[in-house]
Symmetry: C2
Subunit: 333 residues, 2 copies
């Protein structure tokens, strides 16, 4: 039905082989012939069938991106950046939105495999009860993998992530340096570098300042989501601290809401600091003091590692830490 190269060849009065070579700018085609073929192709609105190309060339030109959500602006920023980067390099990004479910992750792995993706970027889900069932399939098929933002424990593939420990340290130190010493720490009860590193940074700042680590002033939620933080925040308000240190912006916004609703003022009564610096952090009132994750840089390095691996370079491994920086806005006194 659709125009094929056969039609173009016939119309231009050449063989299929010649048409193909002309269209792909291969050497060894007479200049006149080439331009005739190109003209005919344009006139006929010919567009090469990608499936056929992928089949014969043995490369799909696709990269899989596995990620937990997309409505969350942190993740949609990643999609935005990575899809541009992939495109610049001539690849198409295939999305697997897993909704934080390991089953979905496996389903999308199969999907990626069927599309013969040439590499996969994994932004891990947060609560992987059974982790990496999907990864085994990919490894087995020899598909290069690079983790972005966080990785599954025990996996050998490289990961590019923000230096969470450093970020949380700097933020906590900043608060302490401003004279705020009675802190709450709000995080999630999940075993992952995602949380462990942040906690390390927080503790380090306390210890350096000679402050005690008070476990009764730590709020650990099930998931790092707005609603959970909003519910959980009541314990903080029972005996309001001088500042709240939080591991992401979404939860911070929930806590801010609760604080403001209780009639207290930010930052006059309580200071608040988040992590991530999502788009909306600058827009809320008051604008949020937070730790900026340099997503552009993280994604660029992720893509570069993947390209290297796809070109057969010895799988660069290990943890690639990108330094974050504190963005002081108006929620900290």
């Amino acid at each position: 039905m659709r125009i094929t190269i056969k039609d173009v060849a016939r119309e231009a009065g050449v063989s299929i082989a010649t048409a193909s070579m002309a269209l792909n700018n291969r050497a060894g085609v007479n200049a006149q012939t080439r331009s005739r073929v190109l003209r005919v192709a344009r006139e006929m609105h010919y567009v090469a069938n990608h499936s056929a190309q992928a089949l014969v060339m043995q490369e799909s030109g696709c990269i899989g991106l596995m990620l937990p959500e997309i409505q969350n602006p942190f993740y949609s920023a990643i999609v935005d950046i990575l899809s541009h980067l992939a495109e610049e390099r001539g690849y198409t990004l295939l999305l697997g939105i897993t909704n934080n479910s390991a089953e979905q992750e496996e389903k999308y792995t199969r999907f990626f495999l069927s599309r013969r993706v040439q590499g996969v970027i994994v932004v891990p889900i947060l609560n992987p009860r059974r982790t990496g069932g999907c990864l085994e399939m990919l490894r087995q098929a020899g598909v290069p993998i690079v983790f972005c933002t966080e990785r599954y424990a025990g996996s050998a593939e490289p990961v590019v992530m923000c230096d969470f420990a450093l970020g949380q340290y700097e933020m906590t130190k900043y608060l302490i340096d401003r004279g705020l010493r009675d802190l709450w720490f709000v995080s999630v009860d999940i075993e992952a570098q995602f949380t462990a590193l942040r906690y390390q940074g927080y503790v380090r700042a306390l210890e350096e300042a000679g402050l005690p680590v008070r476990r009764e002033r730590e709020l650990l939620l099930k998931m790092p989501w707005y609603d959970q933080a909003y519910e959980g925040a009541s314990c903080i308000l029972e005996d309001p601290p001088e500042a709240v240190v939080c591991i992401n912006d979404i939860m911070t916004m929930a806590i801010m809401k609760r604080i403001l609703e209780s009639g207290l003022s930010i930052p006059r009564d309580i200071s608040v600091a988040g992590f991530d610096d999502i788009m909306f952090s600058a827009l809320v009132s008051p604008p949020l003091t937070t730790v900026h994750q340099p997503l552009q840089e993280i994604c660029e390095q992720t893509m570069q590692l993947l390209m290297d691996a796809m070109e057969g370079a010895a799988e660069g491994e290990g943890v690639h830490l990108i330094a974050p920086h504190l963005v002081v806005r108006e929620t900290t006194a």
Copy 2:
């Protein structure tokens, strides 16, 4: 390199044809044979090559989604919903993020065409200087198109959109009914139903209440973005009104910020109302009174229309309006 059906067939001791029929649950295969093939396939981690299937079956199983941005939560919500809907129906969503550029739109059209998408959903860009260059290519190739959220003027394809006029009317009426009569209207200077319908609704509410339409109290920005609204808001503050009626939430948040910064209180001094009800509208302080666009419903209907068109049904045409509803939160007195 990767396992093919040929390998499975050999290992199971059957022909390729039999293997294929077994794997696809076709009738006419002996039960034992079938299960043997399936077992072997599983053991060998066989995953069918989609390109080969697409080629021979003449259907890609892909749907194209053209949209202007993805970081904006309004759009990422659309991606989320539509990708689930597509998947439920056995299709894969291919993303074309155009960055509000007509050139990009054409580029992605070619991309869609090369992937032989079986239908395209278009969420139009806002400032189409030369509109629909991309559409012509799709029409010409016989690819069904459905617009979502808004459509390009003069195009014959169906569109599913929120009843903007109704939403803006209800919102404005609500404000007026609360006794607020000195209003500002904040919109963008773009010719599209996007803006025209909203203005209609606003005007209707004024007229029904016997209030004058004061053009000097209309702020028309170039693009409906945060920064533009933030900059533009100064004129509103010169002679603060009782309420500001805005055509989307992002701009509303910018205006709120300006109002709060000027020392005025929301809603005590000024009421503010937005449109869209994006995820963050409920989270900001104070939570935003806004008109909820029923995106789920809009996307479902969009997908249904596309499916109908793909199955060759007479192209359902015309404008499908989905009624929005006002969500009263705390920015209106």
